[in-house]
């Protein structure tokens, strides 16, 4: 089901844990299947000095979390902001198509953690923790139905192949 790289990161996840005095925390949850990911950042000189994660989810969700921490560690904030979910999937040498939709939330959690850090610096307080609402695609990325794996057009609310409503998650 999963390739060797994914299984390696699932079995031996890197940077697991909590940073007690974190400078930024990002949390994402997928209402569709219930995966949850939290990323903790320690920032020094505008660089990610330390990064840790906690994840509730399937094999790919754990592997994605592990990989995003490996990619982001040591990067400048400017560089880290460029990291996308697609980069994570690529570094893992691919994920099952339906899991691209479902579990590939690592970059989202990272971006929220950076946002959280910058908000704190700017003295911005938000009434609710910011959460990513909709599934987004980087340009040129194909999109698949999370239920039946069929390639679908971006923005549609109904999968013709399996008759599933995609309103909530697409």
């Amino acid at each position: 089901m999963y390739n060797k790289t994914v299984m390696d990161h699932f079995r031996n996840p890197r940077n697991v844990g909590v940073i007690e005095d974190a400078d930024g925390i990002g949390e994402v949850g997928n209402p569709l299947c219930g995966d949850m990911m939290t990323i903790y950042l320690k920032i020094e000189n505008e660089h990610i000095a330390d990064i840790k994660f906690q994840t509730f989810g399937c094999g790919s969700a754990i592997a994605v979390s592990s990989m995003i921490t490996e990619i982001a560690k040591g990067k400048s904030l400017a560089d880290a902001k460029q990291i996308t979910n697609k980069d994570v999937a690529k570094a893992l040498e691919g994920l099952p198509k339906n899991k691209l939709h479902c579990s590939n939330l690592g970059a989202d959690a990272l971006q929220l953690a950076i946002q959280n850090y910058e908000d704190k610096l700017a003295g911005v307080t938000r009434p609710e923790p910011i959460r990513k609402q909709k599934h987004e695609h980087s340009h040129g990325e194909k999109c698949y139905c999370p239920y039946c794996d069929i390639e679908i057009q971006e923005g549609i609310t109904f999968c013709d192949a399996c008759q599933s409503s995609l309103e909530d998650e697409h």
Binding site: M7, E27, L32, C33, Q54, F56, G59, A61, Y147
Partner: protein, 394 residues
């Protein structure tokens, strides 16, 4: 490498005796049972022996009440669509439950788009349908009640006999999907009061790809497959004779060894239930404590996700099944678990442990030890577990 199979609900091994009769059947090169020459009659004789064994397992009035099919799914489709098409002049209302297998749900969905009305009944917190609800749901348009015998995810057994009394009194056809029960627990179609009963051979260590439908004599039903006159005109197409011969042998052995197997399986399940609390905490048992299959147990382990548990146990050479949304392919939380009132998060941590006669008490011990480690590992990285700890600490 020895793998401990605790996923018998997905696949059971063929019994050596079943394998042996199937190999003999292959070597015999049977002719077509429908042919009237000597070779054909030979094949028809083997088919009849298997049918009699199957009828014996279910206590049918005559072996003619058994129709062999390609498995549980075909049987269910045949029962539901066959009754609907043959009785639509009488009415177009069907009653079912919220926890049926997809073969039932999707057959009914198909009928719904063709003008049939379906009432789907809830289950109580224990996962059982209330027979009184069935009685109250029956109208003059009701032509069929379809309620499963045991649930494939929880193992909980439904009050089929009580429902059978109601459907008989109201003269409504009653089908029960007994795919996970036939050959595992004693089954008497007379006592249950069902008109149709679906079964699958692999459930009792016969070959996958063979199953059947019990059709009470006099039940109005159309074939699902039209063509030749095989299976007493109820299922066209040349029979899967090798598979059916294996099924007959498996049925004969299931009946003969029923008590012994029940005792063995029940001991394993009791052992697991007794030992579980000293290995892990914070879990929910989804299986009914009194009315359930002896070989199946569904456990929802809090704060962790089932696919991860399954993959880690797989590393330890232990095969289990999970009902986590992430692992089902559909990516949806199980409708059965949600019907029991489980939250999405708790449903995510659901394992289905299913024993077979090839399991031993030592297998359960190995599993428990491995499970303890896996649960600790995954809770250590779970934000839900962290939140719970923070809550307790504050």
């Amino acid at each position: 490498m020895k793998v401990i199979n605790l996923d018998h609900i997905s696949a059971k091994p063929l019994l050596p005796e079943v394998k042996a009769v199937m190999i003999t059947a292959i070597e015999k090169d049977y002719h077509n049972p429908s042919s009237q020459h000597k070779s054909g009659e030979d094949a028809a004789g083997a088919l009849q022996t298997a049918r009699e064994a199957m009828a014996g397992l279910l206590n049918c009035k005559t072996p003619k009440e058994i129709v062999f099919t390609s498995g549980g799914t075909e049987s269910v489709n045949h029962a539901i669509k066959g009754v609907a098409l043959a009785n639509e002049d009488k009415g177009k209302h069907i009653i079912t439950s919220n926890i049926e297998h997809n073969a039932v749900i999707r057959s009914l969905r198909r009928l719904k788009s063709n003008g049939f009305a379906v009432t789907s009944l809830p289950v109580d917190a224990g996962g059982r349908v209330n027979p009184q609800d069935v009685a109250e749901a029956i109208t003059k348009d009701t032509i069929l009640v379809s309620i499963m015998h045991s649930n494939n995810e929880t193992g909980t057994i439904q009050p089929i006999e009580e429902i059978g009394k109601i459907t008989r009194e109201k003269k409504v056809i009653f089908h029960s999907d007994a795919v996970d029960s036939v050959g595992v627990v004693p089954m008497d179609v007379q006592q249950l009061g069902v008109d149709l009963l679906s079964f699958a051979a692999n459930t009792f260590y016969g070959p996958a790809g063979v199953g059947g439908l019990y059709i009470r004599r006099g039940t109005r039903i159309f074939p699902l497959l039209d063509g030749g006159v095989q299976e007493n005109n109820k299922r066209a197409g040349a029979e899967n004779l090798i598979g059916i011969i294996g099924t007959g042998k498996a049925a004969e052995l299931a009946l003969r060894h029923m008590d012994k197997r029940l005792m063995h399986l029940k001991a394993l399940k009791d052992h697991l239930l007794n030992e579980l609390p000293s290995h892990i905490d914070e879990y929910i048992i989804n299986t009914h404590p009194a009315y359930s299959l002896p070989n199946l147990m569904s456990i929802s382990i809090k704060y962790i996700e089932g696919e991860s548990v399954m993959l880690m146990l797989d590393d330890d050479n232990i095969a289990v099944s999970t009902r986590s949304a992430c692992a089902t392919g559909s990516l949806r939380a199980s409708h059965v678990l949600l019907s029991l009132g489980l939250s999405h998060a708790d449903a995510q941590g659901t394992l289905v442990i299913s024993f077979g006669i090839d399991n031993s008490k030592e297998d359960v011990d190995v599993f428990l030890k491995a499970l303890k480690n896996v649960v600790t590992t995954l809770r250590d990285i779970s934000p839900l577990y962290q939140k719970k700890a923070d809550k307790l600490g504050s």
